[in-house]
């Protein structure tokens, strides 16, 4: 069976490229002397988790207990749940796994710490805690410096908890407009973390782990002296966001969506059978560029400008200026654009691969186009 025999839309993964991405990040972490703890949300599959662990990852990062449950294996010895677990039910599920795997939880609020402490003490377990620091992403996290020290002190005083250090998700890296900005943002986040850990130690608190995480920042931030761990996720597959941020090439994008042209309703328009159910609805991160839903590989003349659930609408690039100026109210009569025909297959590099993986029950795995089978997306939909 060949990739061309698969019905579309289908999410394909080139294992040669995955292995290369895994090896590169592992080598980078080793060179910088930091531990690598990949975020499993990108692939959500046991087989690829095993690849990462086999290449020297110290463990995995997950966001939800359901992801941990789905990806448990004998090889998985250490997990960071980088998300505050609130509520008796998810906490009891979490604690039920503490006999199989060493668990740390990232949290940023006294209530989360107290709930985790109560659950751990009740279960007779000890769970590690990393205090989540907001280094600029303005999502979760306490501010660096004193606020972090104060929460860390509270954690250290609670039964059932072991303060292991601090973590951040420097998601602000995605707003960088060029490599210089990306480097500056990454280094700033790293320094804020190291400075905060120093304050903790001066206060007599443990800060063995200084964990940071995001694919675009992973290269630069690992240089910061004192960082102990990086948690990139997307690197394993890469995606169009990473390409445009300048940290990956299109050839590094291991996971792509195969789609079929189902209509050519106008000379400048083609419609494919991959909409937001197939390529996700995440817009790209570069605000100055026109909105697209992914790259149509090998067809630079076409832009993926609109998506509804099942339809992806491609427009010819040479109409783009007018499209941007909102002058394209009807269809522009262009030069024919006959290079996509109904029934033709195209390959889409999605903007953001993680939520795309979450849309599929299985990955169609291949090496350079030679189809080798399906892998179950074991942690798909595990948002609890």
């Amino acid at each position: 069976m060949h990739l061309d025999d698969l019905e579309t839309p289908v999410l394909t993964v080139d294992l040669d490229v995955v292995e290369q991405n895994v090896a590169r990040m592992a080598a980078h972490a080793q060179r910088q002397g930091v531990a690598l703890r990949p975020h499993a949300k990108t692939h959500k599959t046991s087989e690829i988790a095993a690849l990462q662990l086999g290449a020297g990852a110290v463990g995995l990062t997950v966001a939800k207990v359901g992801e941990l449950e789905a990806l448990l294996s004998d090889e998985l010895r250490d997990v960071l749940v980088a998300f505050p677990i609130i509520g008796a039910r998810p906490l009891s599920r979490l604690l039920a796994r503490a006999d199989r795997v060493r668990i740390s939880v990232g949290l940023d609020h006294p209530v989360a710490a107290r709930e985790l402490s109560d659950a751990a003490a009740a279960a007779g377990r000890t769970v590690g805690v990393l205090v989540e620091v907001d280094t600029g992403g303005q999502r979760c996290g306490v501010l660096p410096g004193r606020p972090t020290v104060e929460l860390a002190r509270a954690v250290a005083g609670l039964p059932g908890l072991e303060l292991r250090g601090i973590m951040t998700h420097e998601g602000q890296a995605y707003a960088a407009r060029n490599r210089d900005e990306l480097r500056a943002v990454s280094l700033a986040a790293g320094h804020a973390m190291v400075d905060t850990a120093r304050e903790m130690r001066q206060a007599g608190l443990d800060a063995a782990v200084i964990s940071v995480g995001s694919t675009p920042s992973a290269h630069d931030i690992a240089e910061v002296n004192g960082i102990t761990e990086i948690r990139p996720g997307t690197y394993v597959f890469q995606d169009y966001n990473q390409v445009r941020l300048g940290v990956a090439e299109v050839r590094d994008c291991a996971a792509t969506v195969l789609a079929t042209v189902i209509s050519r309703p106008a000379p400048n328009r083609a419609v494919i059978d991959a909409g937001t159910k197939a390529v996700g609805a995440d817009r790209h991160m570069i605000l100055a560029e026109p909105t697209v839903f992914g790259l149509i590989k090998g067809h630079p003349g076409w832009l993926f400008v609109r998506a509804s659930e099942e339809h992806g609408v491609l427009l010819r690039t040479h109409d783009l200026d007018r499209w941007n100026r909102e002058e394209v109210s009807g269809d522009v009569q262009g030069d024919g654009g006959g290079d996509l025909h109904v029934g033709q297959r195209v390959e889409v590099v999605p903007n953001h691969i993680c939520p795309v993986v979450n849309l599929y029950d299985e990955l169609a795995v291949h090496r350079g186009g030679a189809f080798s089978g399906f892998q179950s997306v074991a942690a798909r939909g595990k948002s609890r």
Copy 2:
């Protein structure tokens, strides 16, 4: 068991509200003398399909063969696949169902017609065809008038196909800025369809079915004399887009996501455990308003302004002006905003409910808050 006992995020559906929405649309269709063929993509569940069919729907609309396969039942006698089916494999799956259910396919290209004809003829079956007309949505569809007549003539001449009429998806209705515009757009689409059908009949072609579809246009377009069928989907659950378009009230929104506040990192910011994996990534349709990812029901002081996969970020409304002017670079020190606490549950009305349903394996069904069980989202992920 109560809804409050369910772990979050969870997609809940109030069956009382569903039944009211189903009954209302059925009554509307009956009053206007048009057939109702709901698009099943909104709910993707056998139980709710049965409700619709029981209330007088003539059949269902689906987009993909996989949805048809998942929702087959003895009650389902007639299906429109409102999507061109291209390729031998999906066509053979489609034809394999032709003994159980009367099938029509919407298509807009001679290649799609020829492939369907070949497959039908080879299977010794007759499949109905509705020619898809572009009444302004600029997605799929041939233009009204002569282009439609020409494709219809080609369809009528192909073996295995029975020309049954025309269809459109007047998705342009979603761009309406007020009720007057919505009505004007809806009526214009309806008239274009009826005029085109008249041209077809004058050319000696069959146009028994004039099928239109979208929830916001469903009210007005059914008035157009000659329309025979409406295909709304979203009406069954409604959503925040429909509320803002003025065609539903918040109390009509049957499907909501229960989430938990997991962090209060700043006075003006709350974080919930429902990000794009739980509420979808679809932006709302009203360009003049600030981007949100849904309505936080009962908390008008909070706006759902950002979402990553697992995190939903809420900001206090009173900071909104500054947020819009992009002056909110750090956290605004506001008036405390203590009305959401860590561990508190909130209910989110998503912008666009259809892709949200596609993220869940099951619906948590209740009546006015009294939990009654789970329904399987049988057609989740069926994008082929």
